[in-house]
């Protein structure tokens, strides 16, 4: 066995950081398993909890937006199905985003006592949210069977949009995770951001309604939100051609997500060595 040599110096960012991260993949697995099994142990309803919640939300939103407000959906697509598609990917994004934002502070007992690449913690939050997402996606499949609604070749694009949503949550969450260590009041901002995002994104309504207002001043603003392209693309992959999708919007999403991903990872790496001093 070759000797393991380490040099510790101020500001020396570990040369083999990424290799170290890879070496710690078992820790990633175990931390994710911990969060998943704790979640499902603590609740009486267990796994069904992640099914009941979106189902009830979907029913309420269907009632409010379609029955009461009489919003038009995409022609040919059952309104509840459209809501559930948007809700599934949004819940994935917002859960991952929220959990990544608090991943460092929630694990402060580890941060102060052991060394490992800190990126493991937000990564493990992503894994946990992804598992929840798969469960929710199962619910969606059941509902499509109920409505006898079969996906077409568009479904091949599904993984692309899922990955994009994951990267988006990671990119934004990471920045907040770092800020959260230093400024605890950021934590209170996060549910608020998620709530605003819920209405700013095409979840309970279709972007088709926004498109009908193409001349309005807020129309370009709407498309600046990177989640619009991701959510529309996700709905389009699942529900097919009839779902409204502006392909140009996804270019914006990709550009914003990649930019933020680089910035946030850089920011995280800059700050991670001093987490323990601030936490």
């Amino acid at each position: 066995m070759k000797t393991h040599e380490v040099v510790i110096e101020p500001g020396r960012s570990e040369k083999n950081y990424w290799r170290d991260l890879w070496r710690n993949r078992e820790l990633l697995y175990i931390l994710s398993m911990r969060d998943i099994s704790v979640r499902y142990k603590q609740t009486v309803l267990g796994t069904s909890w992640s099914l009941i919640r979106p189902l009830i939300t979907m029913m309420i939103m269907f009632f409010v937006f379609s029955k009461v407000a009489k919003l038009k959906g995409d022609p040919g697509i059952p309104y509840p199905l459209m809501i559930l598609a948007g809700l599934t990917i949004w819940t994935f994004f917002s859960n991952a985003f929220t959990q990544i934002s608090t991943s460092i502070t929630a694990n402060s007992n580890l941060v102060t006592k052991v060394y490992f690449p800190r990126l493991i913690m937000p990564l493990s939050s992503s894994v946990v949210s992804f598992i929840d997402f798969l469960v929710a996606l199962g619910l969606f499949v059941v509902l499509t069977i109920w409505y006898q609604f079969w996906p077409d070749w568009h479904i091949l694009f599904l993984p692309f949009f899922i990955i994009l949503a994951l990267l988006a949550s990671f990119a934004f969450g990471l920045i907040f995770a770092v800020l959260n260590v230093r400024f605890r009041d950021i934590g209170q901002l996060i549910p608020f951001i998620v709530q605003i995002g819920f209405y700013a994104c095409p979840i309970a309504y279709s972007s088709r309604l926004v498109e009908e207002n193409a001349g309005e001043w807020w129309h370009p603003l709407y498309y600046m939100n990177p989640m619009v392209g991701i959510i529309d693309g996700f709905k389009w992959s699942l529900l097919g051609e009839k779902a409204f999708f502006n392909p140009a919007s996804v270019i914006n999403s990709v550009a914003v997500v990649i930019l933020f991903l680089f910035v946030s990872i850089y920011f995280f790496r800059q700050r991670e060595n001093s987490f323990v001093d601030d936490i």
């Binding site: 078992e26 175990i30 490992f116």
Partner: protein, 423 residues
């Protein structure tokens, strides 16, 4: 071969006086920035800005090297920088200046059961904690039975650890850590927890680890354990490494420095002396009778308590009464002198406390001046406070020796009849 070389390590913390250590709110940070940008308005308290951020050097210019197979003790007061050093060595926090070169796989045990989750079972937590400490699942699986056995928790493997007693929790935590297989092991004060039997087991395990040629760094306040386990010791004070070398020598100088012992209190004139119109105290003193270059009192050391006072009464029957208290306030003993008639003047009394009598600990001696064997004239309640250090020879147990006294009584065993149990 040096496995750890530390050169000029310093670690600075910036203490925020406004809110104490920890997280700041954005409002504060923004407020400070705005103040800087817009300047102008003077802060309300001129010194306030001054002390708002203060540098605190948890470590200052620390240099040392550790050889392969060394067992290094790290001693010092709370806040002397010991824990910071361990954190820097384990890469948890980075030094502000300096450079450390480490050869070998390092595992640090700064806490027992790091990352244990109360909802998870013992079994699940073994894997969780093992992974956190850097073991692979394969390694844990291989060691699993040994860990369970060492911790003695077979029956509770599938119980959530939140139902564990604190003793079981600690045993499980230490059992996992004990089965790590690093080349360098860093341990922070884990022996402060657990019962005596378990402490013995853990120390034994640590000795095994060091016997196999691995390097240990061990922080502890238990000098007996440090002396038993470590061949070299580093002594820290206020972030500086003030002494390093052979353990017995460093520990002795540490003990003599931390000793709360004040061996003499003296007043030159009756005017400034404590007391009243009848009697006033001139002096209270402890006179140890050291042997072999001892520099502090340990359980072997005999010492005399000397007391001098002025008597301002023409004729009085006086006696002294000495109480010895433990730091928790229990009276350990009370002895008195015979009552004798004295005229006006300076009177002294001396009491010999033998060696091999008091247990290690901190004691308070009080002296009472009594008239006619019943009327206390003056009671000097906190006469002197002094430490008695531990000393053991030929005992492989390092826990706190119980009891207030530790007398050497005649007590022995003998073989009465041999070979009667053979079949």
């Amino acid at each position: 071969m040096a496995v750890i070389t530390a050169e000029d390590i310093s670690k600075r913390y910036i203490i925020d006086h406004k809110k104490g250590k920890g997280s700041t709110s954005i409002k504060d940070a923004l407020g400070d920035q705005l103040k800087k940008v817009f300047g102008g308005k003077k802060p309300q308290h001129p010194e306030y800005e001054h002390i708002e951020h203060e540098d605190f050097w948890a470590l200052r210019d620390v240099n040392f090297s550790v050889e392969q197979g060394d067992r290094i003790g790290i001693v010092g007061h709370n806040g002397a920088g010991k824990s910071t050093l361990l954190k820097v060595l384990s890469k948890i926090t980075e030094p502000t200046t300096g450079r450390i070169h480490i050869r070998g796989r390092i595992a640090s045990l700064l806490e027992v059961g790091t990352g244990f989750h109360p909802e998870l079972t013992g079994r699940e937590n073994i894997f969780l904690n093992g992974a956190i400490l850097g073991m692979t699942r394969e390694e844990i699986r291989k060691q699993f039975d040994a860990i369970v056995d060492f911790g003695g928790i077979e029956k509770f493997l599938d119980t959530p650890v939140k139902r564990y007693s604190s003793g079981m929790y600690v045993r499980l935590g230490f059992a996992i850590a004990a089965h790590l297989d690093p080349e360098i092991l860093i341990i922070d004060e884990v022996l402060a927890v657990g019962d005596a039997e378990f402490q013995k087991k853990s120390l034994g395990k640590m000795r095994d680890v060091s016997a196999s040629g691995r390097t240990i760094l061990f922080v502890s306040h238990n000098m007996t354990a440090v002396q038993a386990l470590c061949n070299r010791t580093l002594y820290f004070e206020r972030g500086r490494l003030i002494e390093q070398g052979e353990t017995n020598q460093v520990v002795a100088s540490y003990l003599s420095k931390i000793s709360k012992t004040k061996l003499l209190r003296e007043w030159n004139t009756p005017e400034e002396a404590p007391g009243n119109d009848l009697v006033r105290v001139k002096k209270i003193e402890i006179l140890p009778e050291y042997v072999d270059n001892q520099i502090f009192i340990d359980v072997r050391t005999p010492f005399r308590v000397r007391f001098e006072f002025w008597n301002m009464m023409d004729r009085a029957n006086l006696n002294l009464s000495l109480h010895l208290y433990s730091m928790t306030g229990e009276c350990i003993f009370n002895v008195g002198t015979l009552s004798q008639p004295y005229s006006r003047g300076l009177i002294s009394g001396e009491c010999l406390i033998p060696g091999h009598f008091l247990n290690d600990g901190t004691y308070n001696v009080s002296m009472m001046i009594v008239k006619d064997t019943v009327t206390p004239l003056y009671n000097m309640e906190e006469g002197l406070i002094f430490d008695v250090a531990d000393y053991r020879d030929g005992v492989a147990w390092y826990g706190k020796w119980p009891g207030f006294v530790r007398p050497q009584l005649s007590f022995h065993t003998e073989m009465m009849e041999e070979n009667i149990l053979n079949d």
